[in-house]
């Protein structure tokens, strides 16, 4: 029988719009120290494998992998890089432990976005060099294209998107590690300047610096390390074609398929009934609505209405992004998905403080790799092990 996997430790620096006083290495050391303390492990002997999730162009290094071991306690130990969001790293850790060869795996992802001087140019550098790059323009027009088609196909309103922003920025006010908490109204969002019609300035999650580390362990050792293991019940991931020319712009098909995979692994048949709360990708306001539907947390075309009715508020029927999401916590590059998983773990432990969602048993974390990708990952976490349900 395959082993079960639990999150047994977490550490986070707190997200900040900028971190001029610390190097990326120093913020990684801070988050890693907290995670190992939380898990009660010594990384120099207790961690069987380290995974860092990083993309060279965000870092400004070729082969960034080499700069990682020291500040994670991974010198002369087993370490590799996953060039993707931290949630892909969590999925990789899950698989490593399930092989039976590894009992403890640490996953790290961070953002030092404030060190990047030419963010839009780096995103544009990810576009196809023959068909798309020569057209010029800021690459976020891709979000405008997707939002417009999504609203057109589903009938979701521009106001519903603005609701997402107001809700998430407000949720972030109760989150000490969020960078962009604010009391703003739907009108504020609608009146902010149009940037990529129908997308306005406040529909876009602002960048933040921060580092997250999770420690995962097999059922063999999880019980010895913590009284509150949070079980990874399922993981899934998927990639759509890179062709902007042929994508399904009205829906996030990769998220639909990543979710199906994760639900299958977790044995979840009725997500609406079985998922108590979710941290889902809200890089742009409309993504939260689109992803709610892709994750089958509501029917297609319903997300806007549910949001306007308050169902996704922290005290609603399906709380979405109680942490503040990327709109409120900040977009932390490849750490975005790990931030979402970390929040779900805090919620399921009952350690989310002022933003605690009561009686949550099973939560979902989902992330998109951002423009211009159509790749994403999903993880399902629960404070009840497979055997207990």
């Amino acid at each position: 029988m395959l082993r079960e996997v639990a999150v047994v430790g977490l550490g986070c620096t707190g997200c900040r719009p900028t971190t001029p006083g610390l190097s990326y290495k120093e913020i990684m050391f801070e988050a890693a120290t907290r995670a190992f303390e939380d898990a009660g492990v010594d990384p120099r002997c207790d961690i069987d494998n380290f995974i860092t999730c990083a993309e060279d162009y965000w870092e400004g290094f070729s082969i960034f992998d080499e700069f990682v071991p020291d500040q994670l306690g991974a010198v002369l130990r087993q370490l590799f890089t996953v060039t993707a969001d931290g949630l892909f790293g969590l999925a990789t850790a899950y698989m490593l432990i399930r092989t039976g060869e590894f009992d403890t795996v640490a996953v790290e992802a961070h953002s030092k976005a404030s060190d990047i001087l030419t963010f839009a140019d780096i995103v544009a550098f990810a576009l196809d060099p023959i068909f798309n790059r020569p057209l010029g323009g800021h690459p976020f027009y891709i979000a405008g294209l997707e939002m417009n088609r999504y609203l057109h196909e589903t009938g979701a309103s521009r106001e519903a998107c603005a609701h997402v922003v107001a809700k998430n920025r407000k949720n972030a006010l109760s989150n000490a590690y969020a960078a962009h908490g604010a009391n703003i109204t739907v009108e504020d969002v609608l009146e902010s300047e149009q940037l990529f019609y129908p997308l306005s300035r406040l529909d876009i999650s602002p960048l933040a610096d921060g580092c997250m580390v999770l420690v995962l362990a097999s059922d063999k050792v999880a019980g010895k390390l913590t009284d509150t293991p949070i079980w990874v019940r399922g993981v899934g991931w998927n990639s759509d074609t890179p062709w902007l020319e042929t994508r399904d712009w009205g829906r996030s098909v990769d998220t639909e398929l990543a979710a199906k995979m994760a639900y299958k692994v977790a044995g979840i048949r009725n997500p609406q009934k079985e998922i108590d709360l979710a941290e889902i990708d809200d890089r742009f306001s409309y993504k939260e609505l689109q992803n709610l539907e892709a994750l089958q947390l509501c029917r297609r075309g319903e997300a806007g209405k549910l949001t306007e009715e308050g169902a996704t508020e922290r005290d609603g029927s399906i709380p979405i992004n109680p942490s503040g999401g990327l709109l409120g916590v900040g977009y932390t590059l490849e750490a975005s998905g790990l931030q979402k998983a970390l929040e779900i773990v805090l919620q399921l432990r009952g350690e989310a403080g002022k933003r605690q969602v009561p009686d949550a048993e099973t939560g979902l974390a989902q992330v998109w790799r951002g423009i211009p990708t159509a790749s994403g990952a999903v993880a399902i976490l629960s404070n009840r092990s497979r055997g207990a349900t």
Binding site: P20, R44, D70, D121
Partner: protein, 170 residues
């Protein structure tokens, strides 16, 4: 080729075809710029270079004195404990004589690059720099060297505030 495949289909592209522009290419120059926060450890190190000094950090658990300094000990995985000035001299641990410039063009004046174990730091710990005022053939393992600094006004808080290390007459 393999046992199954004896010949690949298609036509071999010749250098002349490339030069004649018969093979289409697309050129792109990315605009990627960064400004790395040097953080606590590197900021102090660079500031001290400007003063003509080399500073290290000491870990009270393993007692190593490490340079360039860092705020954590990578072997003990704990914060380092104190700032320690080390000397601007040391011995050559290993060296190479580079006959190519960074753009891979050959140069008449080879560069001697060395790892220099800094006096005052723990054994085996030091910095990478250039060796000057020495004929490449005279450079040896264990050779004693000392920093040659730029004049104070020309220093910017960079590793190049040290022009090079030169052999010390023993």
């Amino acid at each position: 080729m393999s046992a199954k495949i004896k010949k690949y289909a298609g036509e071999r592209i010749k250098t002349a075809d490339l030069r004649a522009g018969k093979v289409p290419v697309v050129r792109w120059r990315p605009k990627v710029r960064y400004a790395w926060s040097t953080g606590i450890a590197m900021s102090r190190f660079l500031k001290e270079l400007k003063n003509g000094k080399i500073i290290a950090r000491k870990c009270h658990k393993c007692n190593r004195i490490v340079v360039p300094p860092r705020m954590y000990c990578e072997m003990c995985f704990r914060p380092t404990d104190e700032w320690v000035y080390v000397k601007d001299s040391g011995i050559i641990n290993t060296y190479s004589i580079s006959y190519l410039a960074a753009d891979a063009t050959r140069t008449d004046k080879p560069t001697v690059v060395a790892v220099i174990e800094i006096d005052g730091a723990s054994k085996g710990i030091g910095i990478v720099h250039i060796i000057g005022e020495a004929k490449p053939k005279d450079v040896t393992f264990g050779m004693k060297v000392k920093a040659v600094w730029k004049p104070p006004k020309e220093r910017t808080g960079a590793i190049t505030d040290i022009k090079y290390f030169k052999p010390v007459e023993v």
